[in-house]
């Protein structure tokens, strides 16, 4: 897959590490480019509703998606384009959901980041922060009831989301049941406009772990290699039966809360600090430095991914839009228990 010849520095032991890194980098790149495409479609008025990007969070996110195996469970959040792709989401599904295509997994009923395929262990978030964690717990419990072992469930949250009662109840629930849950918190310094100082008062978010009796991990979210290692280790621990793992990654959101937001409130000092580094650039430099890839291959990858994205967008733009007259307008699986009265005709 990697198109550069192994550099002298790359020993035999380094090869898997390199492969993993390169694989992750390529997904990050794709995620960034796809996010940028969504942003430009948004600016062009081609997307209804909000657009939420993961800029600056790709290293962490890809590490989560890539640490999971088929059969695992993943409930990503709004800034997880990279993790979604790494877990197996297709570009087409992402574009279809943003554009509201009836052929996408949400069929135009739900949109943007609210997408998933529950049957494939890929859970579609609802908007209420913290609400997906217990759903992952339940999926893991379900597996346990069925005697299926070995699977891990991962889910992502912002530091703002840790203030929800749902976060607390579900992490505690996972701890009591000793579920293989990996809860990944991206402390990106802001919840919308609210700085972390107005969100929690503990010295470090990871200090919460001890109060639940779960393992805590802290990681530099701008450093892909660190993310791969920390998340990989946490997933392995969970899989091995060590119970829930809480990962807190430190980084900065490098975009607005959504594309409608210019994020003028972000402290410039933070942008200049190590937290403000762009994980994609850092990873690219690392690649080049280690000669795990050269500039040309990176350009090739980029071009290739842009092509893939443009193709997907072109396909979706030719697809029909949802037809309200073909909708069954039924919220129940039990057809015979539906009601169709006093509604909009």
């Amino acid at each position: 897959m990697v198109q550069t010849a192994p550099s002298p520095a790359a020993t035999v032991e380094a090869a898997p590490r390199r492969d993993e890194f390169v694989r992750a980098f390529r997904v990050m790149l794709l995620a960034r480019l796809l996010d940028e495409k969504f942003a430009s479609l948004y600016r062009a008025g081609k997307i209804h509703g909000g657009v939420f990007l993961g800029k600056g969070q790709e290293a962490l996110s890809v590490a989560v998606g890539q640490s999971l195996c088929p059969g695992d469970i993943f409930a990503p959040l709004i800034r997880d384009q990279a993790g979604r792709l790494a877990f197996g989401e297709t570009i087409l599904d992402a574009v279809r959901t943003y554009m509201g295509s009836p052929l996408g997994p949400m069929r135009g009923r739900d949109g943007n980041v609210h997408r998933g395929k529950p049957r494939e262990g890929y859970l579609p978030m609802i908007s209420h922060l913290g609400a997906m964690i217990s759903v992952v717990n339940g999926a893991l419990l379900g597996r346990r009831f069925q005697g299926k072992t070995g699977a891990v469930g991962a889910t992502c949250l912002g530091e703002g989301g840790t203030s929800t009662g749902a976060f607390h109840e579900s992490l505690n629930q996972a701890a009591i049941e000793r579920l293989p849950l990996v809860l990944v918190v991206a402390d990106n310094q802001y919840a919308y406009s609210t700085p972390s100082s107005q969100q929690f008062a503990c010295r470090a978010l990871v200090d919460k772990a001890v109060g639940y009796g779960v393992t805590g991990h802290s990681v530099d979210g701008t450093d892909l290699e660190a993310c791969l290692q920390t998340v990989g280790a946490a997933v392995a621990r969970a899989r091995a039966g060590s119970g829930p793992q809480l990962i807190v990654a430190h980084l900065l959101r490098l975009c607005g809360h959504g594309e409608h937001d210019d994020a003028g409130y972000i402290d410039p000092k933070l942008k200049q600090s190590p937290l403000g580094r762009d994980c994609l650039k850092v990873a690219e430099e690392f690649l080049l430095q280690n000669q795990w890839a050269d500039a040309k291959s990176i350009e090739t990858w980029r071009a290739e991914k842009i092509k893939n994205i443009e193709e997907a967008v072109a396909i979706v733009q030719r697809e029909p839009t949802p037809d309200p007259f073909k909708e069954d307008w039924r919220a129940l699986a039990s057809e015979h228990l539906g009601e169709l009265r006093s509604e909009n005709p």
Binding site: P105, M106, R109, D110, H114, G116, K117, P118, R119, L123, P124, I126, H128, A131, M132, I133, S134, V135, V136, N137, G138, A139, L140, L141, G142, R143, F145, Q146, G165, A166, E169, S170, N172, Q173, I176, R330, A331, L332, A333, S334, H336, L337, G338, E339, R341, S342
Partner: protein
Amino acid sequence: MSITYLEAIREAQARALADDPRVYIYGQDVGAFGGAFKATKNLAQEFPGRVLNAPISEDAIIGSAVGAAIEGMRPIIEMQFADFSTVGFNQIVNQAATLFWRTQVPCPITIRLPFGGTSGSGPFHSQCIEAIYAHYPGIIVLTPATVEDAYSMLLEAVAIDDPVIFCEHKYLYYHLKADRLPTEAMPVGKARIARAGRDLTIVAYSAMVHEALAVAEELVSEGAEIEVVDLRSVKPLDTDTVIASVARTGRLLCVGEAWPWGGVTAEVIARVATEGFGLLDAPPQRLNAKDTPVPYHPNLWSTHRPTARSIAVAARNLLGL
């Protein structure tokens, strides 16, 4: 042999656990203890590993049920009291209720809500909140009024591929007895003519069915034949049966133990008025609890909710007696 409404609920759960390996029970104190009301008595012992105590975390309890349902399980969740479901509200109305519509993956979870007033239970252990769930799309809300329905509807609830709010009335738990469990049952979604009559239709559900039946009995001596419709399920609501009854009687009184604004009685009257207007010989009437929290002292409590006494007054008014 005789079996109470509460025992019927236990038996239905025992049978569901026995018949279907996908069923499990989760809730506070439902394990070895058998639940605050003993609705899961001995089930943890009879079905090891399938009846789990939960922490005091209603949000996570419901959320986890949705996750398990996605994986093919059919959880039965016990809320200790219906009133506490308000802290699990979001997971019910936004997570469970939307799953199928959003993803085409069914969400077969049954949430048992011990609900309704009992004397001395006060504002937070007496509420009738079926309407707030029925208002949301994607949820089925059942309100069994008899021992037989408690049993058969709970079994059906577990089999239904959608989230079911199962409202079991705490007053009926011990007060209602039957000789045996039913072997066949009306399906969910159908209302029942609890008593036939031709002068007035009283539509009721859950504990109020029994108050209505008492009134029907009482007013016989005054020459009135009252038909009592037991809704059984408030969502879906069997408008056809209600309207057919009103077609026979021409008069409608709808009784609910819940608060007035937007409750079952509003929905029933709105349906009859819009779809069966011409059948009404008199303005339809409704009777609800008073629009305050449920009071603690029995003197107040028995005035707060409709009773045979107040229903009889309303019925006589409607009948011109």
